[in-house]
């Protein structure tokens, strides 16, 4: 029955892809919601079946057919369903259904609705294959599938040059952003592929069961081959999950429609790397060096992305850098060996970040796609529901006590501290502080204060193929339609209460960790209750200070941020320009790469290979030119040549006798 879960969205994609553009808009859109919703229903029943089993037996293995069979080596299309995949499929189908439903409203003016919903359902299929696969090759199939769908959806508005309306900032066009995301991901995927090949080489199998069993039986902790293998797999994770050094594609991916940013670039696809590392925890636990690398990269990414988010003016980009930063937290958790805590944060983050993105999308929808926070403001009265949901999302993101993000972030920091990563913990707390600052900066600039726009003002002329007909008209912000705010409210409930399934053990039982115990093995935090209270207090205080600073800077004395930017121009420029990483990559990698490609095209292909082929032709022509005089059309000459030839042949034959 497990196969139904990915099959339903696949069927939805096929139906919408083949006949969707001939169906009425409403039918096509709601079909996509229905197929994903049905997959959610099947997922819930599958998970309840799983929970009905005793804890140790909670693994369901289902083989559909043999995909590849060569001698002893075989790869099956088979599903591996355990508590970890259970959480992932619930997040993907559940939040995916809500976001698709929201998209019905968000894309209501779009001509090309069938293409959009096809790609959304296809994405869900690929993502579900990724998390349900029972071997690395099938996982890689899903991994590449989500990459393709991400590419298709980032470039959804491929005929528009710039989506940012009413801003002076220069962003990549959707098609360039899509290409960038795809190319950057290929670098990571290459690492993943090498890791899989090394795994096949070492174990002769790619199935989780055999690989994990053999790895524990064959290798000691710290075995070099496992270290290399896990590092290569982690390179794949840095691509898909936007970690240093491959995070640069995610902020530009915001060129896609907002539901895409919420589903793919916040809630699900970018967590594929986290899932993959958690799934391979047996291998990672054998490679302490890799784990340290994972933790350090995670914290570093969290820090870098959070600082950049402080200085961005585009609401969606603030959220994008925040996603990078939160993914960094998840890798920090994985790196210190707290796999359960990482997955917990993955789940709560899926709720509150999808919520934040969808709320931001509602703002864009209301403001004719204008998303520059310097020109928003005062929307709390016009869009009360969106304001409330965005606020809940921001509180959860900041780690405000009792919101979902509080519990998961606190668990990560506590785990990090208790496992001796004190320096990383300090940075993590700093990041929590900055998270609170930029979240509330976004809340205040967007919804607080007085409007910095005028009713009826025309913002930015739309392209010819504008996706909403009222685009060229003046601003008339309004609350989102019910089809959009209902998903927002549901997600807000998740962002509010989602954390209570994983309480710190001084407060109550951690059901989430218990559920994941069969996968990751149980462990207790080895710190005293006092210390744990202190840690909770520290991160709470960090969040509160951050919120306070944001209120002071952006709601109180609004001159302070500008003054700071003037006093520390180099620091401000560094952050506003995202550490110049895009430029550095451009000059060190993209340009040499393009130069090399040009050299291969014009010189190697154009001169060497073409030259060889052309030269061969020229050579034969020249030889022909020279010898053509032998055939002068003088028939008696031919006869003489023939005679001489025959005489010579006969002479030779006679001489031999």
């Amino acid at each position: 029955m497990l196969w139904l879960i990915p099959a339903l969205p696949l069927l939805g994609a096929v139906v919408n892809g083949l006949v969707g553009s001939r169906l009425p808009r409403a039918l096509s859109s709601w079909l996509a919601v229905a197929f994903l919703g049905a997959a959610f229903g099947v997922s819930v029943s599958a998970v309840s079946n799983l929970i009905a089993l005793p804890a140790e037996e909670r693994v369901i293995h289902e083989t559909l057919y043999q995909w590849i069979g060569v001698g002893d080596f075989s790869v099956n299309v088979a599903f591996w369903f355990d508590p970890l995949s259970a959480i992932m499929i619930l997040v993907i189908t559940g939040i995916g259904t809500l976001i698709t439903m929201y998209a019905v409203g968000y894309m209501e003016h779009e001509h090309d609705y069938a293409r959009f919903f096809t790609a959304m359902n296809l994405f869900a299929f690929a993502m579900l294959m990724l998390v349900l696969a029972d071997n690395y090759l099938l996982m890689f199939l899903g991994w590449e599938g989500v990459g393709v769908c991400s590419y298709l959806l980032i470039g959804f508005w491929f005929n528009r040059d710039n989506l940012a309306v009413g801003t002076d900032e220069k962003f990549l066009s959707p098609r360039s952003s899509a290409t960038k995301a795809f190319v950057v991901n290929r670098i990571g995927d290459f690492g993943f592929m090498l890791g899989i090949i090394l795994m096949f080489w070492t174990f002769g199998s790619l199935a989780f069961e055999e690989v994990f069993h053999d790895a524990e039986a064959m290798f000691q902790i710290g075995a070099p081959v496992i270290t290399i293998m896990t590092l290569l797999l982690f390179l794949g994770a840095t691509g898909k999950s936007a970690q240093i050094p491959l995070y640069v594609w995610l902020p530009d991916a915001m060129a896609g429609p907002t539901p895409v940013s919420a589903l793919i670039h916040a809630a699900t696809m970018v967590t594929a790397g986290v899932y993959m590392v958690a799934r391979s925890h047996v291998l990672y636990e054998l490679a302490p060096i890799t784990l340290s690398v994972v933790a350090i990269i995670g914290v570093l990414t969290a820090f870098v992305a959070a600082t950049i988010a402080l200085a961005q003016n585009d609401l969606k980009r603030v959220l994008a850098y925040s996603t990078v930063s939160q993914l960094g937290y998840m890798f920090f958790a994985l790196g210190v060996g707290a796999f359960g805590a990482g997955i917990f944060h993955l789940m709560t983050h899926a709720f509150f970040k999808a919520l934040l993105f969808l709320s931001a999308g509602a703002v864009m929808h209301a403001m004719n796609d204008m998303i520059d926070m310097r020109r928003l403001g005062g929307l709390r009265k016009i869009m009360p529901i969106t304001f409330a949901t965005f606020l809940i999302g921001a509180l959860a993101l900041s780690g405000f006590p009792l919101f979902s993000g509080f519990f998961s972030k606190d668990e990560i920091l506590a785990e990090g501290y208790s496992r001796g990563a004190i320096v990383l913990w300090v940075v993590g707390v700093l990041v929590a502080l900055m998270t609170a600052i930029y979240s509330f900066r976004a809340v205040i600039l967007t919804f607080g204060g007085k409007p910095r726009w005028k009713e009826g003002e025309v913002v930015g002329a739309h392209d010819k193929d504008a996706h909403d007909e009222h685009g060229a008209h003046g601003l008339h912000p309004h609350e989102a339609s019910p089809v959009m705010w209902v998903p927002l409210v549901v997600l807000a409930v998740g962002a509010l209460f989602g954390g209570f399934v994983g309480l710190p053990h001084i407060l109550g039982p951690n059901y989430f960790a218990q559920f994941l115990e069969p996968v990751f093995g149980g462990h207790e935090l080895e710190i005293s209750a006092t210390l744990e209270w202190t840690l909770i207090a520290t991160s709470t205080i960090a969040a509160l200070i951050g919120i306070f600073i944001a209120l002071r800077f952006y709601a109180g004395d609004t001159k302070i941020p500008a003054q700071l930017a003037r006093d520390y121009p180099s620091l401000y420029n560094l952050l506003a320009n995202k550490y110049w990483v895009d430029q550095i990559y451009d000059y060190t990698l993209a340009r040499p790469g393009r130069w090399l490609a040009n050299a291969f095209w014009l010189d190697v292909d154009g001169r060497v290979i073409n030259g060889f082929a052309d030269g061969l032709g020229h050579a034969f022509r020249n030889i022909g030119q020279r010898v053509r005089s032998l055939q002068g059309g003088y028939a008696r000459g031919y006869a003489l040549a023939m005679l001489i030839g025959i005489v010579v042949v006969i002479a030779v034959v006679v001489a031999r006798l």
Partner: protein
């Protein structure tokens, strides 16, 4: 007494005259005569050796050669007629359309 050597020498002479005719003359009709001369020189050699070796197969070859020669002349003369109709001229040296 005429020996096989005499016949062979005569045959060689006739063949040489025929070959020279083909090489030197430009009129295709004369060239055909040269070719006929060469063929008959060979026929003479066949008959002479057939008698010398007491083997009849040489004489059988002569009939084959005669048949082939008749066919060849038929085709050749047809070509000459066709060329003459097209060009009003049958000088072999001027028929050079396949010049390289």
């Amino acid at each position: 007494m005429l020996t096989v050597t005499h016949y062979t020498i005569l045959s060689a002479l006739l063949f040489a005259i025929g070959a020279l005719t083909v090489l030197i003359r430009r009129n295709p009709l004369i060239m055909f005569m040269g070719i006929e001369l060469m063929l008959n020189a060979v026929n003479l050699a066949f008959v002479a050796f057939s008698r010398f070796l007491n083997d009849m197969s040489g004489q059988v070859f002569v009939f084959i050669v005669l048949t082939v020669a008749a066919a060849e002349v038929a085709v050749g003369l047809a070509l000459v007629v066709a060329i003459f109709r097209a060009r009003e001229n049958v000088d072999v040296d001027e028929i050079d359309l396949l010049k390289g």
